[in-house]
């Protein structure tokens, strides 16, 4: 009955997240970036994606997590949004995972903080949970959260 969906998955720390494969344009490894002064802290910088300029959103910061542990060379998931391409910076890329509607559940009501707006559904996989990312929610941040010194 239900259409299986494919998710491009990635990790932030140990947590598994996913964006629907149809929305992902490509996955790129570590990328040189130009920082944007005065920009909200979650905007990590701008990358040159074969001639287009794409903003890179630091998902860790968006979720209010601390910085990635030493030695993690972040990857970028370039995603299509209503406002054009956006690159999501994540710790590590996972597999493409197919899920069914039966395994889908709404996030628990106890979900608090930034995550509430960012997680669309939860899918029960064998041995782990896949959190589907609400990309629109990710981009809906207060532009007033200015990071004067985003870099350490």
């Amino acid at each position: 009955m239900s259409q299986p969906k494919q998710f491009c998955t990635f990790y932030l720390g140990a947590a598994l997240f996913g964006v629907e494969v149809t929305r992902v344009q490509e996955v790129i490894r570590y990328q040189e970036m130009t920082e944007v002064p005065l920009a909200p802290a979650v905007v990590r910088g701008l990358i040159n994606l074969r001639g287009s300029i794409v903003s890179c959103i630091d998902l860790r910061r968006r979720f209010g997590m601390g910085p990635a542990p030493e030695g993690v060379l972040a990857s970028n998931v370039v995603t299509q949004t209503a406002g054009g391409l956006v690159s999501l910076q994540v710790d590590r890329i996972g597999d493409v995972v197919e899920v069914t509607e039966e395994s889908q559940e709404a996030p628990p009501d106890t979900l608090r903080g930034a995550a509430r707006k960012l997680i669309g559904h939860v899918y029960k996989l064998n041995g782990s949970l896949l959190r589907s990312l609400n990309v629109e929610g990710v981009l809906d941040f207060e532009s007033s959260t200015r990071g004067s010194s985003p870099q350490n």
Binding site: V36, L46, G51, S55, G83, F141, S143
Partner: protein, 751 residues
């Protein structure tokens, strides 16, 4: 497949015909003015004929049948079988509007719409019928001459002519047709334009432009690379690549350029309709129609310009009665002028109407709460006119459906600024108003200076760069002076406010052991300021790319570009940087309205007035303050330079005679006049410079000050505490009045 083809054909029909109808309109107007040439009617006929033919083929019955009615009239007109009546042109314009409306809904949903054209068809038929009986024509013409044309004619011409000449049957369409058909072919053939131009989809041009942008970037990259290798063959090849790319870029840019007449061509019609509606007579003059602009910019200025034109007719020009009473010709002049100037296009909209009454603007602003009564006299004319651009401002005595709804000029300004342009109003009350719109030629590729700041590169558009100043090693401490905490630099004798880019972008501070400092002298809204940066690279043609939505709030950046090495560099928005740093707060004409609104707000909240003040000493220690906004400059003159003219002390200043006003004397304070230098605050009093002589200039301050009004002292508003000291707040205008130099200044103005 078939439906796809149909859709495509309908799309082509709409596009072609709307263009054709615009041409039709301008020919109708030529006809009305009596400027019709031999081809006028042929052109009109051809437009309608091909519209009729194509819509017939596509099975669009309603369009076809309406087109047909008009075609009859046109063919009769063309053959001279009917004469054009005064109301013919109006009816033809209504006719073209009706066709346009149907094409519009066709373009929207593929249907012709449910418009009712019975009255129009009756009118068109009536006009055609006139040709069938010359007597009837004369009668009808007599009957209709005096009728107001805008009223829906209560008696269509057909019954009238039928009544006058009963024998003539009311079915002239049939017999008129065959001869018309015979001529159609000839007209179409003779007017066929040779195929030297083709239609290209705009999207195609845009993507071509994008590709050229990419090519420019790739070229820059290769140039850098080749420069390092120093291989002669490679250098030769890159040189050629360089030249070809530049030429290609120029040519592609040219394909996107369109003459401004593309926008203006709609204006004669708008002006005609509007002036009739308002009972005004307007002579529209357009100069510089061929001035070219990038397509995207043409699109962006279309609405603002239309608004300004409507505004000029509605608010600017007077009715013939008022005009002749004022000794002006009954017909008002509306002149549009476009010209290129230093990488910008200037568009002027001049009307010789009643101008803008300063008092009325001030009155209205006070009424609307945008301005405080006691601030009004201190504003320069420019600042007053800038109020017109404040949101929610309208001076129209009565609200008409044309303009004056209180929305408009602020939107115009916003839209023009969005594309990097500016608007400025000047007015000669009673005589004319000029609105000047300045817009960039193109937005896609601009020359920019690449600078370095805190390890990153930034691009500064050349258009706003005035000059570069290098302060050499170790000179910085001496060359950069401070007024309180604000750095300034003496540029050819006058003080240039300085901004540090590091500070503005909240980057880490530079190491103390500063080496050379580079100053970019930049211009924003007519005001200059210096931007301190770490280093300067090169000038490059950069391709402007927009920033994503998530960075919308950043007004200091105009976009980003990709540099030769593939990295991204941000493009500084000079206006945004200036605004952020409040450079424009005092002198920026467009900021005046906003600034005043802020003053008003802070008035309410804090019981004080947000002001920028110039502090100086006169006689003794007590400081005095005047608003900085009217201070043009600070000058020093040798005591020997002071001369006497008409019993007043004057100095020669910039080729003019500037009267001096000893502030100390007017306020009856002792002043140390033994000095050999005379320190003068050049104060702008309604466009005339007056030198206020003071003992010492102390400082400028910015903040909210509450003024306690005290004893009635002429020229003194009251006292307040500034920087922990009791300070007299002076009212320079009152001082000037009290001193009597005003007569002199007034005389100077007239000369």
């Amino acid at each position: 497949m078939a439906t796809d083809l149909q859709t495509q054909l309908i799309h082509d029909l709409v596009e072609e015909s709307v263009e054709g109808l615009d041409q039709f309109d301008s020919e109708v107007l030529a006809l009305e003015k009596g400027e019709s040439g031999p081809d006028t009617l042929n052109t009109m006929f051809r437009v309608i004929h091909s519209l009729k033919g194509t819509s017939g083929c596509l099975g669009l019955g309603r369009i076809e049948s309406l087109a047909h009615v008009g075609e009859n009239l046109l063919s009769l007109l063309r053959e001279g079988k009917v004469e054009a009546q005064p109301r013919t042109t109006s009816t033809l314009l209504r006719y073209s509007d009706a066709l346009r409306a149907m094409l519009h809904s066709l373009g929207l949903d593929g249907k012709e719409g449910e418009h009712d054209h019975a009255q129009l068809v009756a009118d068109l038929t009536a006009l055609s019928n006139l040709g069938e009986n010359p007597q009837g024509q004369a009668e009808a013409a007599g009957l209709f001459e005096d009728l107001p044309e805008d009223l829906p004619a209560p008696t269509p011409a057909a019954p009238v002519s039928a009544a006058v000449v009963p024998p003539a049957p009311a079915a002239p369409v049939g017999p008129a047709n065959p001869p018309a058909r015979a001529q159609e072919k000839a007209a179409v053939v003779s007017g066929g334009i040779a195929e030297t131009a083709i239609r290209v989809d705009v999207g195609q041009l845009d993507s071509l432009m994008d590709l050229v942008g990419e090519l420019v970037l790739a070229r820059n990259q290769i140039l850098q690379f080749a420069g390092r290798l120093a291989e002669p063959t490679l250098l030769n090849a890159t040189q050629r690549l360089n030249i070809i790319t530049t030429k290609l870029q120029e040519n592609v840019m040219k394909t996107r350029m369109q003459p401004i007449s593309n926008v203006w061509s709609k204006f004669p019609r708008i002006v005609r309709d509007l002036s009739r509606e308002l009972g005004k007579r307007v002579n529209l003059v357009m100069e510089g129609r061929e001035t070219e602009l990038d397509r995207t910019i043409i699109e962006a200025v279309k609405d603002p310009l239309t608004h300004l034109v409507r505004n000029a007719i509605d608010h600017g020009l007077e009715t013939p009665g008022v005009r002749s009473a004022a000794g002006k010709p009954e017909e008002g002049l509306l002149r549009l002028r476009a010209f290129h100037e230093s990488g910008h296009v200037n568009i002027e909209i001049l009307d010789d109407g009643s101008g803008i009454s300063r008092d009325r603007v001030v009155q209205k602003a006070i009424q609307k709460g945008l301005l405080h009564a006691d601030q009004a006299s201190r504003l320069a004319d420019r600042e007053v006119y800038a109020l017109l651009f404040a949101p929610g401002f309208s001076t129209a005595e009565k609200v008409t459906n044309i303009s004056g709804r209180g929305v408009g000029l602020d939107v115009v300004k916003k839209n023009i600024e969005k594309i990097g342009g500016s608007v400025d109003i000047q007015s000669d009350p009673g005589r004319s108003t000029t609105i000047r719109v300045k817009i960039p030629l193109t937005l896609a590729i601009i020359p920019a200076l690449i600078i370095n700041c805190a390890g990153s590169r930034y691009a500064t558009p050349q258009a706003s760069l005035v000059e570069l100043v290098l302060i050499e090693n170790g000179q910085a401490a001496r060359a950069i002076e401070y007024v309180d905490t604000s750095p300034v630099y003496r540029l050819r004798g006058s003080l240039l406010p300085l901004l540090s880019l590091r500070e503005q972008l909240e980057l880490e501070r530079a190491a103390e052991s500063q080496e050379a400092v580079y100053l970019l002298v930049l211009q924003a809204e007519g005001k200059q300021f210096g931007l301190m940066v770490d280093g300067i690279h090169d000038t490059e043609e950069i391709v402007v790319k927009p920033l994503g939505k998530e960075l919308n709030g950043l007004s200091v950046f105009a976009g980003a570009t990709i540099m030769g090495d593939g990295r991204v560099a941000l493009i500084l928005d000079v206006l945004g940087v200036a605004r952020r740093a409040c450079v424009l707060d005092h002198a920026g004409r467009d900021e005046a309205a906003k600034g005043i609104a802020e003053i008003r707000n802070s008035d309410n909240r804090e019981g004080g007035t947000r002001q920028s003040l110039l502090l100086f000493a006169i006689g003794g220690d007590q400081p005095a303050a005047i608003p900085l906004s009217h201070v043009a400059r600070l000058e020093e003159f040798a005591a020997s330079a002071v001369e006497k003219a008409a019993n007043a002390e004057v100095v020669q200043y910039r080729g003019q005679i500037m009267p001096l006003l000893h502030v100390g004397r007017v306020l009856a304070r002792e002043s140390s006049s033994a000095d050999e230098t005379v320190r003068v605050v050049v104060y702008n009093h309604r466009g005339v410079n007056i030198g206020l002589v003071v003992d010492r200039v102390l400082d400028t301050v910015d903040g909210v000050f509450s003024i306690q009004r005290c004893m009635d002292r002429p020229g003194v508003l009251g006292s307040g505490v500034v920087q922990h000291r009791v300070t007299d707040f002076l009212d320079p205008d009152a001082l000037i009045r009290a001193s009597g130099v005003i007569e002199f200044a007034g005389a100077g103005e007239r000369l």
